[in-house]
């Protein structure tokens, strides 16, 4: 006992090192999960409180600064409204054409699932993992592998998927994470590919397994495909930045800029769509 007290620094170091190595070796067990649960339970009230303060202060400031601009906006919006009313006839024509094209392409008119609105309460505190924590959890019907989207203008764009669910919070793996994988297609030529995050410090993604024969253009739109069984088809993913041919391969590699900026995601929607387990298992085998 005296030895332990005298060499407490070394003893503690050895004990902590063993704890870390054992914990990393066994990964997810009830012990590590409960320790992590205690950790998040300790820090979550502070996170929620800080989030509330920041949002509250931001709201007051925005209300104050936007009051003047609001008055001018109302005036200009009235003028615009008159202009847009005349466009309604033209829009109805476009709608009909759009409907016809959607039928041709086999896309669904809208996503036939219900969704839950959620706010981002925190993000990963380090630079190696890029996950987002939202304020909806198991009690709101959220389950692992449910798709998460946000609005990019009027379009539904992919944010990521749920990877961890607790009582009132969930963890979202965003598309820029290197651990993320999803099936995508090029909107123009319907070529398929596999999208992943480029690196831990980048906000870009790359698409592998794109056939060299596929005509990939700068700015081309990428949408989700149903491969993988998680995402519904037709959600906006991003646009093509560049493509690189790989000499020894029959495929080309495409770098994609996601439609949504990871740093400015604050409000999201979780689509209540259970993943197709068989497709998901097949998809996980792809490396």
């Amino acid at each position: 006992m005296e030895f332990i007290v005298r060499h407490k620094t070394i003893v503690a170091f050895v004990f902590f090192t063993l704890f870390c190595i054992i914990s990393l070796s066994i990964k997810s067990t009830s012990l590590t999960i409960s320790i992590e649960g205690i950790g998040s339970a300790l820090s979550l009230p502070f996170q929620k409180g800080y989030n509330g303060i920041i949002n509250g202060l931001g709201g007051v400031w925005r209300g104050y600064s936007e009051f003047e601009t609001l008055r001018n906006d109302v005036k200009s919006l009235r003028e615009k409204l008159q202009k847009y009313e005349s466009l309604s006839e033209e829009i109805s024509e476009i709608k009909i054409e759009n409907k016809r094209l959607r039928t041709v392409l086999g896309l669904k008119e809208s996503i036939p699932y219900s969704s839950v609105h959620a706010s981002v309460i925190s993000k990963d505190p380090d630079n190696w993992f890029r996950t987002i924590i939202i304020n909806r959890g198991e009690s709101d019907g959220i389950r692992i592998n449910m798709p998460v989207i946000a609005f990019y203008g009027s379009q539904k764009a992919v944010v990521g998927k749920i990877v961890d669910v607790k009582g009132s919070i969930s963890r979202v793996l965003p598309i820029i994470s290197p651990e993320f994988k999803m099936g995508v297609i090029f909107q123009e030529n319907r070529s398929p590919g596999l999208l992943r995050g480029l690196s831990a410090s980048s906000n870009l993604c790359n698409i592998d397994y794109v056939s060299k024969t596929a005509n990939v253009k700068f700015g081309g739109i990428i949408v989700s495909s149903e491969q993988g069984g998680v995402f519904p088809q037709g959600l906006l993913v991003g646009t093509v930045l560049k493509s690189e041919g790989i000499e020894t391969s029959a495929y080309q590699r495409v770098i994609v800029k996601p439609a949504l900026d990871y740093y400015s995601i604050h409000e999201v929607f979780v689509i209540k769509k259970e993943a197709d387990k068989e497709l998901l298992e097949l998809f996980k085998e792809l490396k």
Partner: protein
């Protein structure tokens, strides 16, 4: 000493909460944000020695792992080990001036990155390729932020440091 425990607990929680809030993303340079928690750990181990440093590193590392998507231990081990190593030298060896603090944080962040890289290769291979691109920018960022933060921490712990020095 009880006050320094309370101050450290507050600093750890505040740095974790700030670091994980979305608004902190505006501070990212080259896709990397500073590790405030790590700066706190290096400060306490530098000021109060190995034992205090490794305990702070271990407990705050567990909190960090709980908030992050990382497996339990991946963030804990580098923080705990650096708390132990820096505390061995401490203020008796490393003089408290801007240049040495810059170098201390830069070197400690690089060593932390190397530990991370090693653990990733052994336990979490999918992440290993991403780590090198993060180590250097993060080390620069931590080093630049360290002198002003050390100055603030000196003010917070002033009474405790004076009491320790008088013993």
């Amino acid at each position: 000493m009880i006050y320094s425990y309370i101050y450290t607990a507050i600093l750890v929680i505040v740095s974790l909460v700030i670091q994980s809030h979305s608004s902190f993303d505006v501070l990212r340079i080259a896709g990397v944000k500073p590790d405030l928690l790590f700066i706190v750990i290096i400060y306490v181990s530098y000021m109060f020695g190995s034992f205090y440093g490794e305990i702070t590193g271990f407990l705050s590392g567990i909190l960090h792992d709980s908030l992050s998507n990382s497996p339990l231990g991946l963030m804990t081990f580098p923080k705990m080990a650096l708390g132990f190593i820096v505390g061995m030298f401490g203020r008796t060896v490393i003089k408290n001036n801007i240049l040495t603090i810059l170098l201390l944080l830069f070197t400690a962040s690089i060593v932390k990155g190397i530990f991370m890289l090693f653990l990733c290769y052994v336990f979490h291979q999918s992440l290993a390729s991403s780590v090198p691109g993060v180590i250097l920018p993060e080390a620069f960022y931590n080093a630049i932020l360290a002198p002003p933060l050390f100055y603030i921490f000196d003010k917070i712990y002033q009474k405790e440091i004076e009491r320790e020095s008088s013993h």
